[in-house]
Amino acid sequence: MTKRKYNYLPFLLVAPAILMLISITIFPLMWSFFTSLKKMSLLDLMTHGGRYIGFKNYLYMPHDPLFWNAIKNSIIFVGISVIGQVTMGVILASFLHSKLMRFSGLYRAIFLIPWIASSVIVAYSWIYIFDTNLGFLPTLSANSRILQLLGLARRDWLTNSSIVIYVLSFINIWKGTAFSVLMESAGFQSIPDSLYEAAEVDGATAFERFYLITLPLLKPFILINLIMTTMITFNVYDLILVITSGGPAHASEVLSLFTYNTGFSKGELGYASALSIILLLINLTITSLYLIFFRQKEEAV
């Protein structure tokens, strides 16, 4: 009796999770795939309309300048964000890990604030700094010699199509740094203090200690951090949606926001679904890299 219980119970325990995942992930995904083979508008959604056009939505993609524009923006946004966040994460975590540092708990909590705050609040914070009419930087730019000398005296941070994506990347670095600090803090904690003490006895400088001990031992944490931040940043679009909605003239439209706008603003549901499938495939590729990396690490251990 107890033996038979043992056999089906694990499945019973896992069942609710699996059922939810199938009904709210797998099942909708199948609908997305079938819709991506249709020409279908948002209005057709209610009438179950739309007609099959095969893979035409996918074939159109390479000829769509807005698609390539979104890819380009995504690469800039993800590239700058990831490099910025991981660098800031390593620097901040090294400060926090320092033995001389007191109250590091309080500081860590301060660093977490940008990460706890919702994208909407982060968006408003930075609108207050960059917005043409409202922003602190634009209003200050007329009177401040320092800003003028630094070349920061401009009013069009969010409305100039050639810089807006860099401004948004900077804002995203600000929001995401905390996550990197957490990951790298774990990394620093894994390095035994005895190594540093030995190096100090040998007369190594602070730079040598960082370059020869910290960096090599931190490498696996930096790598995981790079991959995870890439995965997360690639799917960020709520922040951009609130600040610029992808504008001016698509200049800050990343791939996930382009997908969203194609579906809900332009109402081209068929094409948007095709885009969303491509978006998913890119995500699955990055996630697989992450899993492969993990497996190698486990085998190495």
């Binding site: 709210i24 708990g105 706890i116 919702s118 994208s119 909407v120 600000w174």
Partner: protein, 275 residues
Amino acid sequence: MMNRNFKIYLGVGLMALYCLFPIYFLVLYSFEPSEAAYHSPPVFYPIAFTFSNYTGVFKSIPLARYALNSIIVATSATFLTLLFGSMAAYGVSVLKFRGRDLFLNSLILLGFFPAATMIFPIYKMFSDINLLNNYLALILPYTVGGLPLTTWVMATYFENIPKDLLDAASVDGLSIGGTYAKIMIPLSLPALSTVAILDFIAFWNEFIYALTFMPDSNMRTVTVGISLISGRFTYQYPWGQIIAAALMVTIPLVIMVFVAQEKIISGLTAGAVKG
């Protein structure tokens, strides 16, 4: 030695300034009349202290109602995520069954399904079964979104619980369900509370689903409600009220994290790094 100490404090001080600088403006302008934001040169310190934004926003939008919506959605979704996630983690880690590796790996893959991919089909499904504007329209997708991380962290935690304890429990005649309820759950309270806080924050802050699946203005969550406050023209936006509301709904989260930051850090890194 003194010199090095000073450098580190300077470094950390600058970093703290970098983290708090934008928030400082929010707090400052939330206590100023709306026109203060348009002062030129800008205001760095309080000039006309007022609470009117904090009281006024309750008249402009049903903020209390939005907060109630957010509380209902985030609490229910957190509860369901913890329940289903810990059950699945228990199934996976203690009772080894065939296909567990497949299950855990697919969980990670599902965990990174982009919201932009899921939003159209879920919208379509909920509109077909009349679930839009229902609390479930957010509770269900949030739960699914929270399950991967929750299950992953809990499974790691459960695997570290000594086997002897479970053997003793079964000798004492405790059923599998009894072991789960009377031993596993109480023992894993630290891990559970960490994931609970992380899930709650994520659900409370979520924006895109809440904006899309709750078109009725009475069903908005706080984040969406605040983002949709507007005047007739941009320059008439009640900026002071918007940020006062934004601060009010963030403060509970900040307090939560200040109290539990040590736990959150260990919980997160256990899930992400040890895998």
